[in-house]
Symmetry: none
Subunit: 211 residues, 4 copies
Amino acid sequence: MPKVSEEHLEARRQQIIDAAVQCFARSGIHGTSLDDIRLEADLSRGAVYHYFKSKEDIIEALREQSLEEDEQLFEGLKENRPDLPLWLRTLDKGMKRNLRTPGNIDTRVAMFLWAEALLNERVLNSQRALFKPWRETMPEMIRQSQQAGDVNPDLDPEAVIFVMASIMIGATAQLAWDPDTHDIEAAVEVAEALFTGGFWTGGDSGGEDAE
Amino acid sequence: MPKVSEEHLEARRQQIIDAAVQCFARSGIHGTSLDDIRLEADLSRGAVYHYFKSKEDIIEALREQSLEEDEQLFEGLKENRPDLPLWLRTLDKGMKRNLRTPGNIDTRVAMFLWAEALLNERVLNSQRALFKPWRETMPEMIRQSQQAGDVNPDLDPEAVIFVMASIMIGATAQLAWDPDTHDIEAAVEVAEALFTGGFWTGGDSGGEDAE
Amino acid sequence: MPKVSEEHLEARRQQIIDAAVQCFARSGIHGTSLDDIRLEADLSRGAVYHYFKSKEDIIEALREQSLEEDEQLFEGLKENRPDLPLWLRTLDKGMKRNLRTPGNIDTRVAMFLWAEALLNERVLNSQRALFKPWRETMPEMIRQSQQAGDVNPDLDPEAVIFVMASIMIGATAQLAWDPDTHDIEAAVEVAEALFTGGFWTGGDSGGEDAE
Amino acid sequence: MPKVSEEHLEARRQQIIDAAVQCFARSGIHGTSLDDIRLEADLSRGAVYHYFKSKEDIIEALREQSLEEDEQLFEGLKENRPDLPLWLRTLDKGMKRNLRTPGNIDTRVAMFLWAEALLNERVLNSQRALFKPWRETMPEMIRQSQQAGDVNPDLDPEAVIFVMASIMIGATAQLAWDPDTHDIEAAVEVAEALFTGGFWTGGDSGGEDAE
DNA sequence: CATGAATGAGCCTTCATTCAT
DNA sequence: TATGAATGAAGGCTCATTCAT
């Protein structure tokens, strides 16, 4: 039986994770020492190791948390924008997510984790988990849109998802680099136009020669 | 007065840069020590400092070089695929570039530099320089396509470019994470279809409600 | 006023000491943290400090206990092997003691304590106490054997004890290093032969020129 | 081609090893930090790592050196004390070796290494190497003495060596614990008397019942 | 009595960089 | 020009011990 309440423990963990996010956003993962984190969290050096057994564990916890938040983010999807195909509504959400946090903290941390994923299997797996819902459920939706005659049946559904995901990822990167120079709302409009036939107004589509 | 020829100097610099690329691709920028680089380059510890003032300088040189290569990459653009609008031909090239290098070395290094750009002004500026041609010349092309009636005139040309760039960036990231699971050719087809009206085959476009 | 019985207290102390012995045997004194001990003893971190003021105190208690055991070990000495001089019977016991414990746990811990004794006055004193009986009572026995004409009267009784003790100590060390390669029974035979004239069978002893 | 002479390098290594010996003798292996060593050697913290890649490597080097010294110690053996069997002359040397160093530094370090050998395979192997000459060549000498009728043929030659080695080891330990209370010369006399029939002067040996 | 959260000093090691030769 | 010895700050982590609950 612990001496302090379960909430206190969880609060401490959260305190450390929050501090880590701040530090990572400011200085990157490798530019952040555990000392930086404990200072930001206003904790003793040893205290951090009560809650996480290594720096990598903090990263993992932080990753897991952002994964949970991500799932929540896409939960209310079915209700919004009923005029759009379901698979398309994620694009809107996915791009606008980058505007959520002040100073784009999460966006910056995300990019550091992207790089880290190339070196660290655990981070890579978290990264994959983030896209798992897309990969698993959305190609089938595309296929239905193709059968319904709305989407070109010659296109590979997996590739469609790949491109959609690319847009969200690339938008995040560009916003991280230059938070103030891009009009994300306008970009969302363009993206939606692309996927719903509202972009190209020319007589005949250039798509024919894509084969 | 240097005893060795200018070429020798340049060769040594290149040797170091190449070694750095190898190391960075393997272990990331922060996971690579100068010792790793000099070992890979088969040079003495001090030698590196004859050619580069610091580790940061190596990173910068490497970034600059990739910038030059990038420019070359897009040079022959005018000749290829005359059926496509000029601004669209870059997409094809930009996405397929990721397939260029064995083991996706450049792709991995690129992603490490993306993260580094968030911390290091010089790297960020190199990063911006990479996209400068897009930003400067391509919106005007879009505008022309809009005036020609090919592209929806309600869309923001800068935002169009933003989305195009996003696709290329996001494709790079996804390929770096999972080099073997994606069909980049199929993705290029999808991308081209999106931009040339070959994606949406539905009766009326959903683009109207994007406003 | 203690809520729990005296036995409970003592049992807890013993529990900790036993755990410490296990840990020390496994990882050495310095390789064992208090956490290792409390884990092995299945106790809370703070509990240990109720029974022992410090890590050093545990070591001391453990040393004291082995001292008591040692005394018990030599108690029945008088009855066994009446054919041997009393001072010699200790050798047999002393060497065979190393065979007592499975995995030679006590032997290993003893050696760690030997080293510790060089740094820690308290441990050194325990160590000395272990040999005190030898030093105090046995030289007199030797002297009697010398007067009885059994042992060379030119030899220093203290030195005889020193050599006897050396044999026991050295045997312990060698068995700790290589538990399986030595035949301790054969070694005891050799030792007894040495002390009772059964070793050298040559015409005239080389001992004359030892002076 | 190194910048400094080979001797300089070797001198630095020796400087570190010597410092380590001093520190180990003073505070034990675990009580000595690399900082202690570098301070004693008057070197920078990083310098130590030019010459040894870890603390364990320093221990190994120090062990190797003492092994070499040990071999030298027993080299001139054949010339000394021609009145004694060759295998016996080592005992004299082996015991007196403990008197060599001021403050018994080597003796103390040896004991710390004895303990370390129980935890560290590399140290254990050095330890074994130290006794290898004994194990390999001396049993045969004993056997010859047995055939010559000088030594009781019923005794196991390996066990004889085991006991001889025990005496040396145990003498070292006792001298390390109490450098000033023992008369090592007298002990050597006892030891020689034991092995050459000069100890037991009784009418009939007690050795008969050793079987 | 008991718990385990908290502390902070200290440890081994790495690394970018300098500089005498 | 080239070498590699030397520097010392910093990093991740462990651990004996204290103390509020």
